[in-house]
């Protein structure tokens, strides 16, 4: 009897272990350009192969009042309103850099998924894809130049 229960548990455990997709941690550094003005809001999101928002990975900027300035992301997040407290940091001022740890599910690598960094500064432009690249085993340890407030983004697996 006891043996049966144990074996059932083992089976359940092995099934769940294989169905839960592992996340991997990546160290991600955002280096800003020398712009003047307020600190920038930078949102890191995971996009599916169709280019739709899948998940918010990190938010630099903790004052929710300005979130609607990050228009594209807000259209996604504003509806979902998932809890992002644990993945929220401060805004990044011009010339500064910030290092954060982001988690990406392993099954999104090499599958056409993209990572997007969009940036906005109070009373200045909004860049919907300041940095954006496809997630591959190569790109997650690379350096990518930005088009807007971001000079470059570097990532390495943790």
């Amino acid at each position: 009897m006891i043996k049966k229960i144990i074996s059932i548990f083992i089976i359940i455990f092995t099934i769940t272990a294989f169905t839960i997709v592992e996340n991997s941690k990546y160290k991600c550094m955002i280096q800003m350009k020398n712009y003047t003005g307020e600190g920038a809001y930078v949102v890191i999101s995971l996009l599916n192969p169709e280019g739709e928002y899948e998940k918010t990975l990190y938010v630099q900027g903790d004052d929710e009042e300005w979130y609607h300035d990050i228009t594209n992301w807000w259209n996604f997040h504003g509806k979902v309103r998932s809890d992002i407290d644990a993945i929220t940091g401060a805004t990044i001022s011009g010339g500064n850099r910030v290092i954060s740890i982001i988690e990406i599910p392993n099954d999104k690598i090499n599958k056409g998924y993209k990572i997007r960094f969009e940036s906005a500064v109070e009373d200045q432009e909004y860049y919907k894809d300041d940095v954006e690249f496809e997630l591959t085993s190569e790109s997650v340890k690379s350096k990518t130049e930005g088009k807007g407030f971001i000079r470059y983004v570097r990532m390495i697996p943790q």
Partner: protein, 727 residues
């Protein structure tokens, strides 16, 4: 002239910016709570000047898998961003010695976020920031003009912090608080302006650029970073932040920010590969932020909060003063031309109170069917039909002219008059100033020298806007010019009247005195020594009577004067008649709540408040009563109450002087002089002496008290111990 410019600017600036200033102050008060509440949390780094960066890094490295960055925040808390041994990424406050987590990051309460937005940009983003910066600058100008006004008022920069003469609550504290908060407000406004400017790229470019040459590869021995000399030589008090190298790549470096410079440090050798000092503007910016927000210090936050409260008070008191001044300063519209008038009244006033007197005189002359022209002193000119000139003027500061009289002296010596004019000058002032009525003296002198002017009366000075004194002048003057004048005091603000019922009224005694007992129709708060002001309809002049409070009733002791309008009115009152009057608190003449001994000295009807005080002396404070009357019959009006109080031990001794009972007159001061021991012991034990009655009696009593104090106690009389209410 100069004074009015400063005052004018002070007011104009205040009017144009007060809405913003109120918003900024109220939000400022709210925001001041944030650094205070943060500082009350136990996360601040202790001994920041003895712990080296190397020590902290070593303990952090032991405690965690990886350290991403380290930061000393504005509250002086050490914030570490780490990856824990089980691979979790976290940011929290750590103990710099043990490296252990001591608390989660403080999340800014949304009230502070909201208030900060309102405070710095009024929710208008850039436009708002500009406005706030601009009004902050205006507030700075208001502060400067305010200081200049204080300097003028006190008579020079050196006197800036000398005693301020207390005339009015609002005015007094406007000046007093203004001096105390001058420096903090200048700091708040200038840093505010600076912080706003920063956002508009008008300040010089402050970006630091580091040049690093990574062309040579590192060949030496890799050092463990806790052994870096740089880290060993830096203490936590200098640290702003340290970012650890992003990866093992040689081109990744330690990025160290100190209070005054930024460093790149090689992650293998520990050598400084780039070092840049912070530009001064960045340092000013840091200081501005600190001074403006009070971050990290409770004391400064409290000062900032106090200053914000003061600013609100300035707005209130400033406008209240302006409105009062406006009300007072309007002269009546002249009905005739200046060249047709026989009487010319010229007024000089800074704060406006002299206008009330001038208007009273103007109306009295009009009622006497005279042709009158009234004007400001600065508008002095020639008057073709003038026969009389009356100048009523106050003095500003140290003998300066009031702002509507600044040109008068120059004009008076220049302008010729066609006819000979009779003149009289009335000076208004306060004996508390050393230059009492100085400007009036100068006006009088210049008119005296003038060939076309002839004095009717010598210069007449009036202290503290006494209407009685002004009436006195008017009587003298009207005698001289042989025109009967009936002067009515301008009732500026009718106070709220209360209804009272007459409970009892005694018949006139031998001295024509009587007692009236009044019951307030509604419950009123008052105590013995307060004043009851009764304004008869006949002459609209307010009379003040000292109140004796007995069983919540008001007891008045009144002497009937043959022609006294008010005393006759009160004398004809019958039981159950109604009467309207106002109670004015008179805190300077209340019976002490605690005392080692009290001496009450009165003559005639001045005993009334004392009857109430004795009646309420349930603490049995040792109290001695001295009273002076004319005859033994005079005291009968009060004797029942006095002796009852004596039997109840509410009075310790009674001393009565009769001036008419024996050959030589004995007055109350003679009794005081006789009972030197009682007086001296009360004075010595820091007791209180209260005097109520005629001014003549008070002066005589004070002389006697002074003599006793000097002869028995070897010290001049301490006026703090004396309370008077005399008329």
């Amino acid at each position: 002239m100069t004074i009015s410019i400063w005052r004018y600017s002070h007011l104009t600036l205040a009017i144009s910016s007060f809405v913003f200033i109120i918003i900024a102050s109220v939000t400022g008060i709210v925001l001041a709570f944030e650094p205070i509440s943060n500082q009350l949390k136990p996360f601040a780094i202790q001994n920041a000047n003895t712990i080296t960066l190397a020590e902290t890094i070593t303990s952090l490295k032991k405690e965690y898998e990886e350290v991403v960055s380290l930061k000393v925040d504005e509250n002086n808390f050490l914030e570490a961003s780490v990856i824990t041994k089980n691979g979790q990424s976290h940011t929290f406050y750590v103990n710099p010695v043990t490296g252990k987590k001591i608390g989660d990051l403080i999340e800014r309460a949304s009230i502070y976020k909201w208030t900060t937005n309102l405070h710095r940009s009024l929710f208008l983003k850039s436009t708002g920031r500009f406005l706030v910066g601009f009004f902050s600058f205006l507030l700075f100008l208001i502060t400067i003009t305010g200081s200049i006004l204080i300097i003028k008022r006190q008579g020079g920069i050196i006197q800036f912090f000398t005693k301020v003469v207390k005339e009015d609550f609002k005015q007094y504290y406007h000046v007093i608080l203004g001096r105390y908060t001058l420096i903090p407000i200048i700091i708040i406004t200038l840093t505010g302006v600076f912080l706003s400017l920063e956002k508009f790229s008008v300040l010089p470019e402050t970006k630091i650029s580091h040049n690093v040459d990574f062309s040579k590869t590192f060949a030496g021995k890799k050092l463990s970073f806790e052994d870096f000399d740089t880290f060993k030589s830096i203490y936590l008090k200098e640290l702003k932040s340290l970012e650890f190298p992003f990866s093992d790549d040689e081109e990744d470096y330690f990025f160290l920010k100190l209070n005054n410079k930024e460093l790149y440090i090689h992650q293998y050798s520990g050598e400084i590969i780039s070092e840049q000092n912070l530009p001064w503007i960045r340092i000013v910016s840091n200081w501005s932020l600190f001074l403006h927000t009070g971050r990290g210090t409770i004391l400064w936050s409290l000062i900032l909060m106090f200053s914000s409260f003061s600013i609100l008070f300035f707005v209130y008191s400033g406008f209240a003063m302006t409105i009062e001044r406006r009300k007072k300063s309007t002269l009546p519209k002249n009905k005739i031309n200046k060249d047709k008038a026989e009487f010319i009244i010229l007024v000089g006033s800074e704060t406006g109170s002299t206008f009330g007197f001038s208007i009273a005189l103007y109306k009295a002359l009009i009622n006497a069917k005279k042709s009158v022209f009234i004007d400001h002193l600065n508008n002095y000119t020639s008057y073709k039909s003038a026969n009389h000139l009356i100048v009523l003027t106050a003095t500003y500061g140290e003998g300066d002219p009031p702002n509507n009289a600044t040109n008068f002296l120059k004009l008076a010596s220049k302008i010729e008059q066609p006819n000979l004019i009779n003149y009289s000058v009335v000076g208004f002032g306060s004996m508390a100033y050393s230059d009492y009525c100085q400007f009036a003296i100068e006006v009088d002198a210049i008119l005296n020298e003038h060939s076309k002017y002839k004095p009717v009366l010598p210069l007449f000075k009036i202290n503290n806007q006494s209407f009685t004194d002004f009436k006195e002048w008017c009587i003298q003057w009207s005698k001289q010019i042989e025109i009967p004048l009936h002067l009515k005091q301008e009732v500026i603000k009718p106070k709220k009247q209360h209804a009272f019922t007459v409970v009892n009224k005694t018949d006139l005694n031998i001295d024509a005195s009587f007692l009236v007992r009044l019951k307030p129709a509604k419950k009123l708060k008052f105590i013995s020594g307060d004043l009851l002001s009764i304004t008869p309809k006949e002459d609209t002049i307010e009379r003040l009577y000292s109140i004796g409070k007995i069983n919540n009733d008001i007891l008045l002791s009144i002497k009937k004067h043959e022609y006294g309008i008010c005393s006759n009115y009160l004398n004809q009152l019958q039981k159950n008649d109604m009467l309207n009057a106002t109670i004015t608190p008179n805190t300077s003449f209340h019976f002490p709540k605690k005392s080692t001994g009290v001496i009450l000295i009165a003559n005639g009807t001045g005993i009334a408040p004392f009857l109430g005080m004795i009646d309420a002396n349930y603490k049995y404070i040792k109290t001695h009563l001295f009273w002076g009357g004319r005859t033994t019959e005079s005291v009968e009006l009060y004797s029942k109450q006095i002796y009852k109080a004596y039997d109840n031990k509410q009075l310790s001794s009674i001393h009565i002087a009769y001036s008419q009972e024996q050959k030589e007159k004995i007055y109350v001061q003679d009794l005081v002089s006789k009972e030197q021991d009682i007086i001296a012991s009360v004075l010595k034990n820091n007791g209180t002496i209260m005097i109520c009655g005629s001014i003549a009696m008070m002066n005589d009593v004070l002389k006697v008290l002074e003599t006793i104090s000097i002869s028995k106690l070897n010290t001049p009389l301490n006026l703090q111990q004396i309370k008077t209410d005399c008329y």
